[in-house]
């Protein structure tokens, strides 16, 4: 289940002293009333050049004095000059991150965790199913795939949020819709639409069933609130998608990010090491405690 260990091989242990790298906030984008996207660059130019990651990996971002918090890297590994993260204001660190201004310096540790199985996805149809801020990890992968467009067959992006105002990456949603090599379906929950909303109205699983995509030669990557994932999976089963070809991410609380602090584990798996990306069929074998 963990492509992390196999790809990494038996390399020597990585020394760790928990010291974060310093990153500068280059720009801040308001996505919704409580979600902002931060574009970050390393203060140290060498780190900027050396830093590598893969779509799906996460980092621990810190506001000095508030603490660290875990978010996925929301930008594509193919865009090398910066990383981005999208942060919903929910707690102490995220509050303080939202108070930050462009030019401020924050801390970053990472990248940690495993990644989406890009190799396995090659040559396949891709179905991205996202809900709310769950589009953040997908966005990294979507841009990654779009930048390597030739390697994949059909791409369908199904994204939904509660209301039109809750949709994130609005500009990019438009860009994707305008491309002719990607099919997009955007939806909002009933009651969440505005008069000029031209997308679908309905819950993501419902819209998925209506669209009725073929499970043939398709990999599904689904990220979103647990309740959406749960019902989206019911729908996928109905549509004949085998759970072996469905991937999702878990977002348990973490402190260390490297398999030591003991709080993100689900059964004998560490979400920070064996995840955050999980094949759904593997997830079903674990204790349902996430």
């Amino acid at each position: 289940m963990t492509n992390g260990d196999s790809v990494r091989g038996n390399t020597a242990l990585t020394p760790l002293d928990y010291r974060p790298a310093k990153m500068r906030i280059e720009s801040i984008t308001d996505e919704t009333s409580d979600i902002k996207t931060f574009r970050l660059t390393f203060c140290d130019q060498d780190q900027n050049e050396q830093f590598e990651f893969r779509a799906g990996q996460f980092g621990l971002y810190s506001v000095f004095g508030s603490g660290e918090a875990t978010f996925c890297i929301a930008s594509s590994p193919t865009r090398r000059d910066y990383i981005e993260c999208s942060v919903k204001r929910v707690g102490r660190v995220t509050n303080d991150l939202h108070e930050c201004n462009e030019g401020d310096i924050i801390g970053f540790r990472g990248p940690y965790g495993n990644w989406f199985p890009l190799d396995e996805m090659e040559g396949k149809n891709l179905l991205f199913v996202g809900g709310g801020i769950g589009l953040a990890p997908l966005r990294s992968l979507i841009w990654n795939c779009l930048d390597l467009r030739d390697k994949f067959a059909d791409i369908l992006i199904l994204y939904g949020a509660r209301t039109v105002a809750d949709l994130v990456y609005k500009e990019e949603l438009k860009t994707w819709r305008e491309r002719d090599d990607v099919k997009t379906i955007y939806t909002v929950d009933p009651g969440g639409e505005t008069p000029d909303w031209d997308g679908e109205v309905g819950l993501v699983p419902v819209v998925l069933e209506k669209e009725n995509p073929s499970p043939e030669n398709t990999i599904v990557i689904a990220c979103g609130p647990p309740i959406m994932i749960k019902f989206a999976l019911f729908s996928m089963r109905k549509l004949g998608f085998p759970f072996e070809s469905v991937y999702t991410t878990l977002e348990n609380r973490m402190k260390c990010g490297v398999g030591k602090c003991g709080r993100c584990n689900v059964g004998n798996r560490y979400v920070c090491k064996d995840g955050p990306v999980f094949r759904y069929s593997d997830l079903l074998l674990l204790p349902q405690e996430f």
């Binding site: 242990l13 990585t14 020394p15 760790l16 002293d17 928990y18 010291r19 974060p20 310093k22 203060c43 810190s62 506001v63 000095f64 004095g65 508030s66 603490g67 660290e68 918090a69 929910v90 707690g91 995220t94 030019g103 401020d104 310096i105 801390g107 647990p226 977002e251 348990n252 609380r253 402190k255 260390c256 490297v258 398999g259 030591k260 602090c261 003991g262 709080r263 584990n265 689900v266 059964g267 004998n268 090491k273 204790p287 405690e289 996430f290």
Partner: protein, 341 residues
């Protein structure tokens, strides 16, 4: 390892050894008694402070290598908006010799060593471990709460200690050297101990009366994540952290920032899976929403998840959790109940 690994030391050897080390500038940690009757490992400045009257030290050995609270980084905001980030300096380079911990506590170091260096190498932990030589004292009088044997240990277990000491009634001792570090220490101590006669038998191993079979327990755990048993077994647990904090193998931690407006520090603190907020997300969602889930996690982690991941049970049978529990929650009874089902 040289062939000679057994040494004979006369009564009073500990005093001579400690004094010799102290005069060499070595940090010596040994059992010291407090007013309330508890005994704990603490740095000593003379051999006179050491007590030998204890079953086990109150707080586990892990504190020396994985302290309850420690600074990871210090930071200070500069006038130009930059932030000065300093790693906390490494532990002192001087050697440390730890006397007096029991075989259960040294066995627990195996568990911690695995966690702190299975992928990422936790530098602070490793540096502290490397500078320490551990001279454990074999256990002579386990109490009814002790259960090291069923979890693979022994009152005379040498796992994790560099030197294991068997003390006789007259105060003389046999010292069993288990590692190159231990050999180095014996060389250093020179005259304090001399090679023992080949026929110097070790004392009899005291009996441990509590028994259960961890493999049988694991088999049950494999199939019973969802079971009403957990609700019943955890009902009396009030969710404090005393069992986890006194446990020599528990290693969960939290990372927090503390500071004032322009400067502060990031600390690593012990944390406990018994606490309600341990896994709570900022959104309010909590994967382990009740004490039953949290107690299950504790048992599962020690007897199923950890063995699956690292190949050994994350419990050394020191019995501290039984003794410390304020409401009488008894891990061994719970395991017996599991075995019976």
């Amino acid at each position: 390892m040289s062939e000679q690994n057994l040494f004979e030391a006369p009564a009073g050897w500990l005093k001579s050894a400690v004094d010799a080390l102290l005069s060499d500038g070595v940090e010596v940690v040994a059992p010291v008694g407090a007013e309330d009757g508890t005994v704990d490992l603490a740095p000593v400045s003379s051999s006179g402070a050491i007590t030998l009257e204890y079953l086990n030290v109150n707080q586990p050995l892990k504190r020396l290598f994985f302290p309850q609270t420690e600074v990871l980084i210090e930071f200070e905001r500069q006038d130009d908006g930059d932030i000065d980030v300093k790693s906390q300096s490494a532990p002192p380079e001087e050697e440390m010799v730890v006397f007096g911990c029991r075989p259960c506590d040294t066995a627990a170091l195996d568990v911690l060593d695995k966690v702190f260096a299975w992928d990422y190498d936790d530098l602070r932990y490793r540096e502290r471990r490397e500078r320490a030589t551990i001279v454990a004292f074999a256990c002579t009088g386990p109490d009814p709460q002790c259960f090291c044997v069923p979890v693979g240990g022994s009152p005379h277990g040498s796992q994790g200690s560099d030197v294991l000491v068997f003390t006789r009634d007259d105060g003389s001792a046999l010292l069993e050297v288990n590692t190159p570090k231990g050999e180095k220490l014996m060389e250093r101590l020179g005259a304090v101990a001399r090679p023992a006669q080949p026929d110097s038998g070790l004392p009899d191993v005291p009996d441990i009366h509590t028994g259960f079979d961890p493999e049988k327990i694991k088999l049950w755990l494999d199939d019973n994540f969802e079971n009403e048993f957990w609700a019943g077994a955890s009902l009396m647990c009030v969710g404090c952290g005393s069992c986890t904090y006194l446990c020599p193998t528990c290693h969960c931690f939290d990372i927090v920032d503390e500071g004032i407006w322009n400067r502060g520090e990031r600390r690593r603190n012990w944390d406990s899976c018994s606490f309600g907020q341990f896994t709570a997300h900022a959104s309010g969602h909590n994967p382990r929403p009740d004490q039953a889930a949290r107690y299950r996690q504790r048992v599962m982690h020690k007897f199923k998840y950890f063995p699956e991941r690292f190949g050994l049970v994350a419990c050394v049978g020191c019995g501290r959790c039984l003794r410390a529990c304020g409401v009488g929650q008894n891990l061994v009874s719970v395991l017996h109940d599991i075995e019976k089902t």
